[in-house]
Amino acid sequence: MASYRIPLVFIAGLMVASQLAAQDDLGAMLDARREAIPKQKRVFEETWLIPADGAEPNAEPRFAGRVVVFQDRPKERLEIRRAAADQLEEPIVIVCDGRRYHLVTRVGATELISSEPVADPFVQLVLASPAGRAEPHRTVTDSDGTTTAIVLRHKRDPDFDEDDAFELKRPQVESSLLKKGLSSFSAAQDRHVAASAGARGVDEIETANGKVSVTPDPEAVWWMEEHSVPPLEFEEFRIEARLAPYNDLPEPQTVDPEA
């Protein structure tokens, strides 16, 4: 029994050491991110596209999530919504109070570096890739030069309430800081409309061509309400035709099979 004790302790020690090293890396990365916050107060929304697993190099990237960023140096707030199945998940809210980054939940704030979401590859990718100053889109590459993400950035009204955005004791976790944005639009689209009263209709209408009898069709309205579009399908639809916010997204490069 004793013979196993030393290796187990050794392995546990190695795990702790590697965890600490990872935390050091993460800490350094967050420090660099905080240092990169520009002087001017700003708000922007980023749309993240990443290559699909196993896809050809020239394949269309997939919608991976949306991030709203509020910055007022040295403070910062990120609302990260990942794409999952055909929906956008609830936002992961991260706030830098000027010194450290915190994960903000409905019940309070904990230091980000030791929280669970920081292990998520998409969250790490976002944190490791601070936005530049002005470019409307940027390409994120790894150390081999392989594209890991294409990011489209859109400015939003920079007039936000700093107290609400950077509050840690009574945190704001709803995406309510953006008065008018795609996040809240999506939420409205997701909202379930109770099929109760109100679809009764009327049985005679006056038209410019005269009065007409009608049998109202409330079931057609319910059918309409049931056929809403999943958010991710909406994103793919806009990407396909390069509709906003994807106007600037480069077209996939065609590969000549003869070459």
Partner: protein, 289 residues
Amino acid sequence: MKTIVRRQLVATIVTLLSAIASVSPAEAQLLDRIKQAAGIAQRVAPAVITISTEQEVEIGRGIAATIAGYYGVVQDPQLTRYVNLVGLAVASVDPRTDIAYRFAVLDSDDVNALAAPGGYVFVTRGALALMNDEAMLAGVLGHEVGHVNRRHVVNEIRARARTELGLEEITEQINLTGEEYLEQTIQLGTTALFMGLSREDELEADAYGVKVAAGAGYDPKGLTRFLAALPNAEAERRSLLAKTHPDIDDRLDEIDDAIDDLETDDATVTASDRFHDRSAIETPSSGGR
């Protein structure tokens, strides 16, 4: 605010009357006249007619059920999904975040598009048949989204309710979606749609449609091309649209001005191939006209 002022005026007059209870016959006659005037002031105080978002959606669903009953809805999931995707692309440019937008195709050869309050937007088969690309559909849906976002039908209901529902002499706040008024309110909204909104509302919706279609990335001349194609439809099939909208030349002028005012020059998507691939109807409808 005016209601409060009137009430204060009435209260002041009544207090004054109480204070000078013992008066001469001539003064009493004068006071009678003042009392009558006070009574009239009380009665003509306008009813407070507000329509919340919840009430708007409830009324809108009733109007949508009536429109669906009149024309029939094409219950083709693929086509409906496509129209929703185009509609949401334009609606997301300047969205009302308090409602969910829904789009459907009406089973009619008539050329028309309608929007009920609360975000229920319809376009007919006949209108789709006149279109050659997605930008045309985006322009038409953008126009209808404009009616929703500017609350044109809701404002029409509020304006008509006072006289047509006999609410002129009511001084309390009115719940238009209560049992007493809901059906009549839906009737007012449906009538407004089928008799026509004001010329100003229609031209505003045209300019709005251009703005949001371009904001979504679509060629802003889609709506122009749709209006230019209208004469290709049989006169009978476009008669309701013609009677409920301003003259086409006036609309085209308004649209040209709106295009000139656009601040973007990268709105060029027409998506003609996608439109032809996805706008075909494959399934029968819930009824039709």
